[in-house]
């Protein structure tokens, strides 16, 4: 299979869907002439023109609302947030309008819109620019929340998102854009609500997504050399959550660690723990542990940021603890 970068896989998904369906439009800050702040949309303006690849002013609430209005009346807009941090000024549009229009209208008005962009910490960009927003959006019924960790998933899930008749919050790992991976030549649509077993193992189930996915895969490799066999599960969609795959794995390994970048208070990390303790209680040989970012606004200083973002050491320690290794 050919190797494709995560950012290029996302672009392929958008380009293919835009060729296929003239109602798909893309809008956001610097998506056109600038070729995308993170170059995800590079070349799309040239191919599709400025009627369909639309540079917006800095007005997230405005263009998110425009996308909702257009979506409920016949278009399939893709909104790019330069980063998800800036979605917070459009939170009302996503939560009150995109997520509720179908329900409020008694099922008359589906809202086929995709909100996408880079999520979570980058490198030393400080507290206002480092949010992992998945807890904010997974809390909301009426939204899909998707978070691919590999190029293949990025492409297949984004295509599904664009064809979905419902609002999708599509989170991309800021630090994953350069990651390379195999992506099939032929068309692939990856369904929502289906987790992926990223690594098979027998001793402990580790559930993770986004940037920590890379950390976990590395630690799992290392631990394998020490005879600890990790089964790594990437949920791929956080809402709906494929808890069955996770629970089945835990029934096999009897141990579970959840690793994520969002703050430890609540969120999908805690949701997964809840599902596992409910559905696999009798199978557990140890308390379920989480390795997460620290519970503070992101500091700028590199020494501190390195500690705050979930570290290899914390992942290793959590796995060792549930395995009662010392």
């Amino acid at each position: 299979m050919r190797e494709v970068r995560y950012r290029d896989a996302l672009r392929e998904a958008m380009a293919e869907e835009m060729r296929r369906d003239p109602t798909v439009v893309l809008m956001g800050e610097e998506v056109g002439h600038y070729q995308g702040a993170y170059k995800v949309t590079q070349g799309l303006l040239e191919e599709f023109g400025d009627q369909r690849v639309i540079d917006t002013p800095i007005a997230e609430a405005g263009f998110s609302g425009i996308a909702v209005g257009a979506a409920m009346t016949g278009l399939r807009p893709i909104v790019e947030f330069m980063t998800w941090n800036f979605s917070l000024v459009a939170f009302d549009q996503i939560v009150n309008n995109a997520a509720k229009m179908y329900q409020m209208s008694g099922g008359q008005l589906p809202v086929p819109v995709v909100f996408r962009g880079p999520n979570a910490s980058a490198r030393q960009v400080g507290s206002q620019h480092s949010h992992a927003v998945e807890p904010f959006y997974t809390n909301v019924p009426g939204l899909y929340v998707v978070y691919p960790s590999t190029p293949r998933d990025a492409k297949g899930l984004l295509k599904t998102a664009i064809r979905s008749d419902n609002p999708v919050v599509f989170l991309e790992g800021e630090t994953l854009y350069n990651a390379k991976g195999e992506v099939p030549e032929e068309e692939e649509l990856i369904p929502f609500g289906v987790a992926r077993v990223a690594r098979e193992g027998t001793d402990v189930t580790v559930v993770t997504w986004g940037r920590p996915y890379v950390t976990v895969m590395k630690v799992a490799e290392e631990l394998a050399e020490r005879g600890v066999s990790c089964e790594v599960i990437d949920p791929r969609t956080l809402r709906p959550l494929d808890h069955e795959t996770i629970v089945e794995s835990v029934k096999k390994t009897n141990r579970c660690v959840v690793v994520h970048e969002h703050w430890p208070y609540g969120g999908p990390g805690a949701e997964i723990v809840d599902r596992v303790q409910r559905d696999a209680f009798d199978y557990l040989d140890a308390p379920i542990l989480r390795a997460t970012n620290l519970d503070v606004p992101m500091p700028y200083a590199i020494e501190l940021e390195n500690e705050v973002i979930v570290t290899e050491a914390r992942v290793r320690e959590a796995i060792e603890r549930v395995c009662y290794l010392d």
């Binding site: 610097e30 800095i58 917070l88 000024v89 980058a122 960009v125 400080g126 500091p299 700028y300 020494e303």
Partner: protein
């Protein structure tokens, strides 16, 4: 022209310029990380407006904040140490380039979300009015910010309540890679003041004394109960939007032409020479700035990073501390 008035302003602008040039170098060396938005080209605005206000007045701005931090009286050491992520920085290394703060000098940041601080600026002015204090708040932002809700809501309330504030748009013609013509239908963005029944002014921002004199009117209006003003100052940034911006949206000829015509530091230096200031005197000023900048870099290099304890201490303020 009074050279004794211009000389300190020239020195201040040069200090900002040199601190930022050294910051750009340190960024390339990996000593500074994240986003670094340079103010180079726009120095006459921070320095000129500062010259028109009092110490008790308040200033709040965007992520492009180093110039204001220095103009307000923050030391080059505190700026550089913050950029280096050190405990001795103005925000203890927690904020970084975009989040410089200095309560003592009434500099209220350093904000990363476009438009998010405009209403906060109005809030600082609200306090002044409520407590019948006579300070004025200057709130700065780029022209790109005048499209977002935060800007409009801030001005809406400031206009309604006649708050003692001056809202200053630094129009550097590009919002990241987007030229003004593609981001707003209005050519004169002070047209937006009309909707809030607010006074307005619009002028060129490359001559520091001109900036000082023109902004005075708006400051006096605010101080004397005449309400807020929306001011647009025309300027240009000589560097990319941030260090990671290759700047392909404008030609190097355009940038070079602007540098030739509108460099506020050069304009001030030439003004001083034309008014008879001896070259030797200016050279001495320049050398003093070099020393200050070199000292700041050394200080930042030698300072320790913040500790985890500092990080945890700065999440919530201790209860009861404010009234103590």
């Amino acid at each position: 022209m009074a050279t004794d008035e211009l000389l300190p302003l020239y020195r201040q602008m040069l200090l900002i310029r040199r601190v930022e040039e050294e910051a750009a170098r340190a960024y390339v060396q990996g000593k500074i990380g994240g986003f670094l938005h340079l103010y180079i080209g726009q120095e006459a605005i921070a320095v000129g407006t500062e010259a028109a206000i009092q110490k008790r007045d308040a200033v709040i701005t965007t992520y492009r904040d180093h110039g204001f931090a220095l103009a307000r009286g923050m030391s080059a050491r505190a700026v550089m140490a913050e950029l280096f992520g050190r405990d001795t920085g103005c925000s203890r290394g927690l904020g970084g380039s975009m989040h410089m703060f200095d309560r003592e000098n009434r500099f209220y940041g350093g904000h990363g979300i476009v438009g998010g601080h405009v209403a906060v600026g109005a809030g600082i002015a609200f306090r002044a009015k409520y407590l019948q204090q006579d300070d004025v708040t200057l709130c700065f932002f780029g022209e790109g910010a005048t499209n977002i809700g935060g800007f409009h809501e801030g001005l809406s309330l400031a206009g309604l309540w006649k708050l003692p504030a001056v809202f200053v748009c630094e129009n550097n013609l590009y919002s990241m890679g987007t030229p003004l013509v593609r981001s707003m239908p209005a050519k004169d963005l002070t047209d937006k003041a009309a909707g809030y029944s607010m006074a307005r002014d619009r002028f060129d921002g490359h001559d520091v004394l001109h900036v000082r004199d023109r902004i005075r009117e708006a400051v006096e209006r605010a101080r004397s109960g005449g309400g807020p003003t929306l001011v647009e100052i025309l300027t240009y940034r000589f560097r990319g939007h941030s260090m990671s911006d290759p700047g392909k949206y404008r030609t190097s000829e355009e940038v070079e032409e602007k540098k030739r015509q509108h460099d506020p530091v050069r304009i001030a230096r030439q003004g001083l020479l034309d008014a008879g200031t001896p070259e030797a005197e200016l050279a001495a000023v320049d050398a003093g700035v070099e020393d200050e900048v070199r000292d700041a870099v050394r200080f930042a290099d030698e300072s320790p990073p913040p500790t985890l304890e500092t990080m945890y201490d700065c999440v919530l303020a201790p209860e009861g501390g404010l009234d103590a």
